[in-house]
Amino acid sequence: METNIVFIVCAVVSVVSAILVVTRRNPVYSALFLMLCFVAFAVLFLNLNAYFIAAMHMMVYTGAILVLFLFVIMLLNLKKEELGKEYGFGNKLLLSFLCMLLFTILAALVYGVGFAPAKSLPSRFGSIEAVGNAMFSDFVLPFELLSVLIIVAMIGGIILAKRKL
């Protein structure tokens, strides 16, 4: 867990690219910075012994969701005047202060709690085998419900985006 240099690099990259995601005006730049952020996350997951999750994260987020975003952005082909207005500088300043306050409260809570030293890991922690065992024994019902949710979302997406029913 204490691979410090990897953590620092990934944390800086992810925070900076997250800030760029929410501040860029052009959605294509936002989507590409979001991709950079997700790659940094995947490295952090590897750093936390979640090997299978890191692979799934790369596939689902950078592979599927980001491509969906870029596909929709290219499909809409927004002109500059179609991007719409944004809130004024004063509002943004106020909101950024509010969000910094939120962060400060969360960080203070985390510091206040403090954590016991990490437990030692079983030998195959985070492998497909371990995650699959947990998923198909204790969490079968949520897993099946999730598949129902994804089917519903798929059908809903098709119906919403269809021109005529």
């Binding site: 925070v15 979640a50 689902v60 929709v72 954590f115 890991l121 997406g157």
Partner: protein
């Protein structure tokens, strides 16, 4: 451990800022993704801390929900853009009229 949770809080806050301060729906959906990913980092860090795979299973569930949310959100966005020719939430006042 603490540093991962702090990073997760930072990303959650940045995502909150994006949702509140932007009016472009595409960027609002991306900010929601950022918030969900901040939570994922916290779940993975706790799974590592307590040597328990449950947190990792939860992250897979969150990924599924995020994928469903993006699919529906972008379909709504396309339907909206077809009718109103805008991605600005300030122009979406159809229910008021």
């Amino acid at each position: 451990m603490t540093k991962y949770i702090i990073l997760s809080a930072a990303l959650f806050s940045i995502g909150t800022f994006g949702v509140l301060a932007r009016r472009n729906i595409l960027i609002i959906i991306m900010s929601i993704e950022l918030m969900l990913n901040g939570v994922n980092i916290a779940l993975i860090a706790f799974a590592r801390q307590y040597a328990d795979t449950t947190g990792q299973v939860f992250v897979l569930m969150v990924m599924g929900v995020a994928a469903a949310e993006v699919a529906v959100g972008l379909a709504l966005l396309i339907a909206m853009f077809r009718n109103k020719k805008t991605v600005d939430t300030g122009d979406l006042t159809m229910l008021k009229e």
